[in-house]
């Protein structure tokens, strides 16, 4: 047993100014400021982002008619309905296609543009701007322009006929439409992807390349053994961001095909939108939202684990 003696109190350290204010010393004030500064965005984040998510969990377990006052608890009924709904399953499969095709396409295209831009000295700014403009253009406007370009008697088809390729159905073909939508999404995101890769490339010390060149490594070897591994953290970010983006495909789909033809392009988010605001079934829509949330959450975790661990070993 230890006895505690009375510790003589040290004279309080006082600041040379404002010593009277609420007896707070400098460190306390500093903390108050920092926590205050952190708390405000946190409250905002919780109220605007987290609470609605939790609330939609609640809605997903109810038969939530849009305007009815009676919202009975139905357990997992909504989930069961969704999982036996061929259209929802179709939208899941389609969303898978958006991700599996879209993400690599966007990454590769972005990387190629970034690598090419790095080689260019003249007019670099011009190219960079040109590639970035689509990213900051309204998605709805872009969708409609492509819808117009790709219509049966549109400019692209005129070109196809001139080249002897014959007219294509584009957005009216159940096999082609989804890939044209992906192409437009990728085209629009190249600028953003390029920018991230450019930043990543600039962080790779020139020293490594010089050393490799002295050792006689070819351009391809340098790319595979230096550029790719050192770009890994940037790529991880890109993969996660792009996956989430493609999992949430909506605006382009709604405006270019509306989910058709024959539901070949409908995405989960478009299906959610139709359930909520066309069929007014908030319960089903929330259940679908929760399913999508879980998918995004799991996929992101897996990506961070798999790709992240590789990065740490390097």
């Amino acid at each position: 047993m230890r006895t505690t003696g009375v510790i003589p109190s040290r004279p309080k350290r006082r600041l040379w100014f404002g010593s009277g204010i609420g007896r707070l010393n400098y460190r306390h004030k500093q903390r108050l400021f920092i926590y205050g500064g952190l708390l405000i965005p946190l409250i905002y984040f919780v109220v605007i982002r987290i609470l609605p998510i939790l609330y939609s969990f609640n809605v997903s377990f109810r038969e939530w008619g849009m305007l009815s006052t009676d919202k009975p608890f139905v357990g997992f009924d909504n989930y069961a309905t969704l999982l036996s709904d061929p259209l929802f399953l179709k939208s899941l499969v389609n969303t898978g296609i958006y991700v599996v095709v879209g993400v690599p396409a966007q990454l590769i295209a972005g990387l190629i543009v970034a690598l090419l831009l790095q080689q260019v000295v003249k007019l670099r700014g011009l190219f960079r701007t040109a590639y970035f403009i689509p990213y900051v253009t309204s998605v709805v406007a872009v969708s409609w322009i492509f819808r117009w370009l790709l219509m049966k008697n549109g400019i692209v088809n005129a070109l196809f006929i001139e080249l002897g390729l014959g007219p294509q159905s584009f957005l009216y073909s159940p096999t082609q439409a989804i890939f044209w939508i992906i192409a437009v999404m990728v085209w629009q995101n190249i600028g953003f992807q390029m920018l991230i890769f450019l930043a990543g490339l600039q962080n790779i010390p020139k020293l490594y390349y010089e050393a490799a060149a002295i050792d006689g490594a070819t351009g391809w070897q340098r790319f595979v053994h230096i550029t790719i591994p050192l770009l890994n953290p940037v790529m991880l970010l890109s993969v996660v961001m792009a996956s989430i983006g493609f999992l949430q495909s909506f605006t382009q789909v709604l405006n270019m095909t509306g989910g058709g033809p024959l539901d070949s392009t409908i995405s989960v988010v478009l299906h959610i939108y139709n359930l909520a605001f066309k069929s007014f079934d908030m319960g089903l829509a929330s259940a679908a939202t929760v399913i999508l949330f879980v998918i995004i959450f799991m996929l992101t975790l897996v990506q961070l684990k798999v790709l992240g661990s590789r990065f740490q070993q390097e």
Partner: protein, 449 residues
């Protein structure tokens, strides 16, 4: 001892967060309840004659309608000095979203303008109240028959000011160019096909240059099928109790479906997506004939003032029929007491003869009441006349879910077009799927009783 006790329970960060979240969730879940009470607040103010009652009117943003309603509100307020009306508008795309988010929050309107196809959903949600019968007598006699669509569970829930029907728009210049008489539009199914063929123009690659018949199943053609072609061929849309789809009960359904699809597959006089859609193709002079609604008159006037076109009633076959659709005015369920009286008075005003006449002139929609519509000045109008003359033969089909029903129809046509599924099989599939939609709806309705 105390030390170990202190350390024994130490929730992880995630758990702490979850608990906090759940607590907050339970708070918000409780706070959603009291919104119902706000509606009854108007009752307590009764007896006070000096204070005017304010009611709110909601409709979507359509400039001509918004302007006219503003003018009408002034007129109404002079007639009823103790009532004030406030108009609120939302963009069409967001209309349902706004209703979905604002109404449960207790910020609802007292009179609301709705597309008739949404009515079953709104009524099913318990959002509307039946119109008081004593204030709206003799609806069935005064209005054209299609207003029956607003009658659910035995009572009328909404009434229209104006309606639209489908008619045949045709480009007179293209008729002349093709050697057809621009004053003789097709009046039968057969004539429509032969005229469309004569009007179609293709280039050396076989690509369409001019559509003889604008073919866009997702626009109006699915309505044309259900309320035009089907009845003309001798069929019927649904059973009296609206539970059974009758398209397959007579050969008329398949005949109508084939007739519609053949324009694209056999006659090759039109394709979907030509100049983005049928209305656009017609306005730009790339389509010679288009089945469209009377509301298109206004947009043609605005977008293509030089277009030399005329309107004719829909071509007939064994009988005559066209589709009618309308935006109707209804009173939400939570409106009671004095507010209900004021809302009823405003709705009575909205369907009065004077308002309907202004509606034709300023908005371009047809009067919904026989007495108003069948006046000579409308019947003899070259553009309005063809639409008016069809009102008696107009059907407004009952919708369970407008979007889903349209998608099913478009998909059936696409199955034939893109997957070369035989027409009969695609049609049978369509009937089965549509019937399932109806069955699910009615099963839910029956469960509620």
């Amino acid at each position: 001892m105390t030390k170990s006790g202190y350390f024994s329970f130490r929730p992880s960060k995630t758990l702490q967060f979850l608990i906090a979240g759940l607590l907050l969730l339970s708070i918000t879940a409780c706070s959603t309840k009291p919104s119902e009470e706000s509606g009854s607040a108007g009752v307590t103010a009764s007896g006070d004659q000096t204070e005017p009652i304010t009611i709110e009117y909601w409709q979507y943003e359509f400039p001509a309608k918004v302007e006219l309603i503003n003018a009408l509100i002034q007129e109404f307020e002079t007639e009823h000095p103790n009532i004030k009306v406030k108009q609120t508008n939302f963009p069409y795309d967001q209309y349902n979203q706004k209703v979905a988010t604002l109404v449960p929050a207790g910020k609802g309107p007292d009179v609301i303008n709705l597309y008739y196809g949404w009515l079953p959903k709104y009524v099913q949600s318990g959002y509307l109240q039946p119109l008081p019968e004593s204030s709206f007598p003799g609806i069935a006699e005064a209005f054209f028959p299609f207003v029956d669509t607003a009658k659910l569970n035995g009572s009328y829930y909404a009434l229209p000011t104006g309606v639209r029907t489908l008619g045949l728009f045709y480009n007179k210049d293209l008729f002349t160019k093709a050697g057809l008489d621009p004053d003789k539009p097709p009046t039968t199914w057969e004539e429509l096909v032969s005229d469309a063929k004569a009007l179609t123009e293709t280039d050396k690659n076989g690509q369409l240059v001019t559509e003889g018949f604008a073919w866009e199943p997702g626009s109006q053609l699915h309505h044309w099928f259900r309320d035009g072609l089907l009845y003309q061929a001798g069929g019927k849309d649904t059973s009296e109790d609206r539970r059974k789809i009758l398209w397959k009960d007579t050969p008329a359904g398949l005949e109508a479906f084939k007739y519609l699809v053949d324009f694209a597959t056999m006659h090759k006089v039109g394709i979907n997506g030509f100049y983005t859609d049928d209305a656009n193709a017609f306005k730009t002079g790339h389509a010679a004939i288009n089945v469209d609604g009377s509301y298109r008159l206004g947009s043609i006037k605005k977008d293509a003032p030089d277009l030399n076109f005329a309107v004719a009633p829909l071509p007939g076959y064994k009988g005559k029929s066209t589709q009618a659709s309308f935006w109707a005015n209804a009173i939400p369920a939570n409106v009671t007491g004095e507010k209900l009286e004021a809302a009823t008075a405003f709705l009575q005003f909205l369907i009065s003869k004077g308002v309907q006449e202004q509606w034709v002139e300023k908005v371009g929609e047809l009067p919904a009441q026989k007495e108003v519509a069948l006046q000579d000045k409308y019947v003899n109008d070259p553009l309005l006349g063809p639409f008016i003359s069809q009102l008696n033969d107009a059907n407004a089909h009952f919708f369970i879910d407008e979007t889903q029903e349209r998608t099913l129809f478009v998909n059936a046509v696409d199955e034939v077009m893109l997957n070369h599924v035989p027409e009969e099989q695609a049609f049978n599939d369509l009937v089965t799927k549509t019937q399932k939609l109806y069955d699910d709806y009615w099963a839910k309705q029956d469960k509620k009783k």
